[in-house]
Point group: C2
Chain length 348, copies 2
DNA sequence: TGACAAATTTGGATCGATCCAATTAAGTCA
DNA sequence: TGACTTAATTGGATCGATCCAAATTTGTCA
């Protein structure tokens, strides 16, 4: 008994052919006679044979049919959806994915990438942890494995990237709020030392400038990019002498927190204060009030990233491409667009 | 050039030793002399050698250091956190995880399990898709691979399971609401054809009985187990002649939807209507009002499931165990416990 | 029927790391 | 120094599937 494991040799023996023939059947070669093919397939089914990919991949000509996906925070539904998008494409291409969560730890990220390399991934989609540098991906890229960076860019890394158009999105949001009559528009939440924060802040400023509004630094209040952070940020903003009447939030989680914070001060989002989020997570649509936000479609983004990766894997030699994901403003209730026109003044 | 790939033989040649010695160094054997070990390690670093796990696993004595995790809906943050919990344990045990999302498709689930088998996983944690039968896992268990089923049980499958104590949780929630003075308590949301729904409904009935309340079937309103489903379910419940004044919801997502639905009818959750969720997802704590719910701790559950799996992998022969996860009632605002005592009557 | 082409089948070498038995080097002691 | 133990190293076989060149069978036509 070979530990219960059935191999090509066992199949060959039982079917009365050579292992080479069995191998040809396995890969659906047209060289093999229909009658033998049928017989071999029957034996395969009878013996409960399981193909051993690891053994096949040993030949250097073969590729592993495994891709890695590394995300910085899977508990954030944005990234969970991103992973689902990748999974969909990867699965239908006959690949499987190694998924690892780094929880924003560059150390752990290094470990999982090393482990994935040892397991022979043929490509990697990564949403890097905060503080990731080009050097962290260097060995991977050097060995010719295609890498697609999503969501957060890494300066100087010679890899493909798929980043959503944060600047244009933020700008559109601010212009929309200005169009509704708001004069004091805050930018709430997010860690100021990240590239994404930077891009959105630039867009925020552009939007203000385009609307002929003054840019005041006290209207920018960073925080953790979470619901709790949003509560915190809006509370600080409301302490200002000259209060904002609306806010663009770093992301949807922050925006929900801002709504919570407003309510705890007896202000109703979309009525007493305009709120715009960023990302358009699934809950944005069904929340009350429904969240006006910049739609990024994380699942679609995951799909595009995976498609790009697949293209590069098949191409053999990866040619870095930098794509930007289109974003669009989705107007719902939280910005107050439906409410009757009024002058937005700081309530006392 | 071997396609740039560095192997043990290359290392051996460069270090002036045999491949056997290199292999011993790789596995940290005490048999090798310190001086040679140092030299070999230096060469390994210099040449940028990457260990090839697939090749090593080819020997039948070795195990793959890969586990699979299959979830039915990764976009649901409950399962995303479960996956994170599994990932934590698995990573620190030096394993990597194949993660696949089935989106409740039994067909896809079958495909991914087959694919994982071909890649030689040494264990599987699975939250099965709706409609999964014992037969779907049969070949896997037959080949001696440990399987841990989480969240949803599969009748008749000879595998280990880790299911949270749905009955006790639901019962505690209902007794709590009854203790607050509620007489008409609804059970909202969830698909009625699932085991989890069944268990929670049993607990709901037990709770009503224990409080001496009548069990009325019209107070049970199923729906999709999502935020949108919650909105829908509460709206139907409020159309009843004899309206409920509180509800136990199938899960937290439904509970949030119920809050949304109440607000859209100008009722405030925790004031005009008592709401209790199930699962205790991260947002439950920070939502406004904070959600009273049954805490299941999905991340901890993932960890326990992974630990159980690891134990079985190391044990060699998997001995099926059925564990139930403890749950506890977390009282926050949405149930109205903080509000001043009053008679709960159906508001007109 | 023999010569030749086309269709099938096959043994052996190969991928990269591990394991075993066997060999060599170093150390100990009478 | 020789006999012996202990430490360190090594060649070859092995895992399971693939690939190649070579062998075998079948088919075609003069």
């Amino acid at each position: 008994m070979n530990k219960g494991r059935v191999t090509v040799v066992d199949i060959a023996h039982a079917a009365g052919v050579s292992k080479s023939t069995v191998s040809l059947v396995l890969q659906g070669s047209p060289l093999v006679n229909e009658a033998t093919r049928a017989k071999v397939n029957a034996v395969i089914r009878d013996l409960g044979y399981v193909y051993n990919r690891a053994a096949a991949n040993l030949r250097q000509t073969a590729s592993s049919k495994i891709v890695g996906i590394v995300v910085n925070d899977l508990t954030n539904s944005f990234f969970a959806e991103l992973a689902v998008g990748v999974d969909m494409v990867v699965q239908s291409a006959g690949y499987v994915q190694f998924l690892a969560n780094t929880a924003e730890s560059v150390t752990r990220q290094g470990e999982v990438i090393a482990s994935m390399r040892e397991h022979g991934i043929s490509g990697l989609v990564i949403s890097p942890a905060r503080g990731t540098e080009a050097a962290d991906l260097k060995p991977l890229v050097a060995s010719g494995i295609p890498v697609v960076v999503v969501v957060r860019n890494i300066a100087g890394a010679k890899v493909s990237s798929l980043i959503s158009d944060n600047r244009a999105g933020a700008r559109a949001a601010v212009e929309h709020l200005a169009g509704l009559g708001h004069r004091r528009i805050a930018f709430l939440g997010g860690f100021p030392d990240t590239a994404v924060f930077d891009e959105r802040r630039v867009g925020y400023r552009e939007g203000l400038a385009a609307a002929g509004l003054e840019v005041a630094n006290d209207l920018i209040a960073g925080s953790a990019p979470s619901r709790a952070g949003g509560v915190d940020a809006v509370q600080r903003a409301l302490l200002l002498a000259d209060r904002p009447t609306a806010a663009l939030c770093f992301n949807d989680a922050v925006a929900f927190g801002v709504c919570d914070g407003l309510r705890s001060r007896r202000m109703e989002p979309g009525v007493d204060f305009g709120v715009v989020g960023f990302d358009d997570v699934i809950e944005a649509k069904t929340a009350v009030p429904a969240l006006t936000t910049i739609s990024v479609d994380p699942q679609g983004m995951g799909q595009r990233a995976a498609q790009l990766l697949m293209k590069q894997i098949n191409a053999g030699k990866p040619e870095p491409e930098a794509l930007t994901g289109a974003v669009r403003l989705v107007v719902r209730q939280s910005c107050g667009a439906g409410a009757k026109r009024q002058e937005w003044r700081s309530a006392v």
